[in-house]
Symmetry: C2
Subunit: 252 residues, 2 copies
Amino acid sequence: MERTQQGPRARYREQTRAEIKDVALRQLAEGGGALALTRIAKEMGLSGPALYRYFANRDDLLNALIRDAYDDAATAMARAAARSTRDAHGTRARLHDLAEAYRAWAIAEPHRYLLIQGAPVPGHVAPADTLERARAVLGPFLPLFAAGEPGAAVATTVDEMTAWLAADASVGAWVARYAPEATGAPSSADGTTTAAGDVRAASALAGAVLAWAQLHGSVSLEVAGQFAGMAHQGATLLGAQMELLADAFGLE
Amino acid sequence: MERTQQGPRARYREQTRAEIKDVALRQLAEGGGALALTRIAKEMGLSGPALYRYFANRDDLLNALIRDAYDDAATAMARAAARSTRDAHGTRARLHDLAEAYRAWAIAEPHRYLLIQGAPVPGHVAPADTLERARAVLGPFLPLFAAGEPGAAVATTVDEMTAWLAADASVGAWVARYAPEATGAPSSADGTTTAAGDVRAASALAGAVLAWAQLHGSVSLEVAGQFAGMAHQGATLLGAQMELLADAFGLE
DNA sequence: TGTACATCAGTGAACGCGCGTTCACTGATGTAC
DNA sequence: TGTACATCAGTGAACGCGCGTTCACTGATGTAC
């Protein structure tokens, strides 16, 4: 996997690719609107066509930025999860930690958050691996809710997640990767999982999806500046929402 | 106010303005990206410059669309509130009704929802009256939570809303317009409101803002097509979130 | 170690596109006497 | 009721802009003998 031993040309190439992406992100951040190869090249002191050495076209660059953003967010979440687990908090405290990490990442780089969660570019179909990357971001939430006891308020949601698990095998694989304890051991020689495992997986999913929706709600409003005027209530609102979720799943 | 008695020219003018906005919305909906005067004119069989008879420039048209969308959403919410109140539900059922109305409006016209809640166009400062229009959309939520008993999970949020009320008089006016029973009568001749009134106003605000964040979370994910693959879980997720909120505020 | 060749970064000119916006104009339509 | 005039919708040409992308090219840089 590691190809550290590259020629100097390949190294320079990677470096320039990275610089192009940096400049692109800065220009997106500075509000120039859509990203424009011409403008990026100009800022780098290059001629427009030079960028075609590094990216096939505009879409290629855009997709690279999106992939990077997902991966970066996923790394931040994984790190936060590890830190939180090491501190040996209860699941409720860990939920708050994860939520705050998600928010912090989005606030620190709003343009990248918009790149990920923003309005879908019409006609722009997300590549297949995007779904996998998005799931990596939310993965750390799964184990928290796998241990929960979903209450009445979320019962219907848990039911629908059970249906989703049955309809799409990749979803079960996702849960298994991040919350292996929720998938349960094979109940017998035929390899089917236990019913209890299914329930825990559905609970994990319900919690993660609800957390996602709530996170996206307050974070995207905050990123869009809609809380301007009410001081910095983003953290408070998010905290309240996570409390509600923790209550609904009986997290300790 | 009513200027029904216009000359035929003024009437024709209004009609054409409306048609321009219709076409603009349709083109936004069809995913052509940003709205373009040229393209609108072409679809209407007009020459580009003709549109300048009806809108000062591109921004003027965009602002008109945004204003209309807010007003339309506000009307839908007011209607839903009236219907729900007439049916004499409890506050919890009314919360669900309002949430579903909000979602239904957004799902029916995703492009208009994106126009309202979407990413802020960089550099495009919202006109002053926009805030008022946005508040009209959320207003119907206020009375539901004015009667609630906020629990521990939202205590901090309620506190911050008290601070917000103190810092911005227009917020109190907003609450007073939609939930007059929450503002309390003057406690004495000096015209200050009662402390109990302040608490209820803060509670109303906390509930409405939390509802807003949660609504925006699931609705915008659903509008962006992020729930594709998990059947139609938008309504279920939203319902669960409203249940959590209703629990947190002790709605009946 | 030195030379010949292949590789590859970057250039400049060019194409065609859609866009916002202005301007001077034409012709129809409503209105005042 | 008829005529003169003002109003106003709409046109076509034009400007300048930034954009994505292609092409044939130049020159530097790494590599194979």
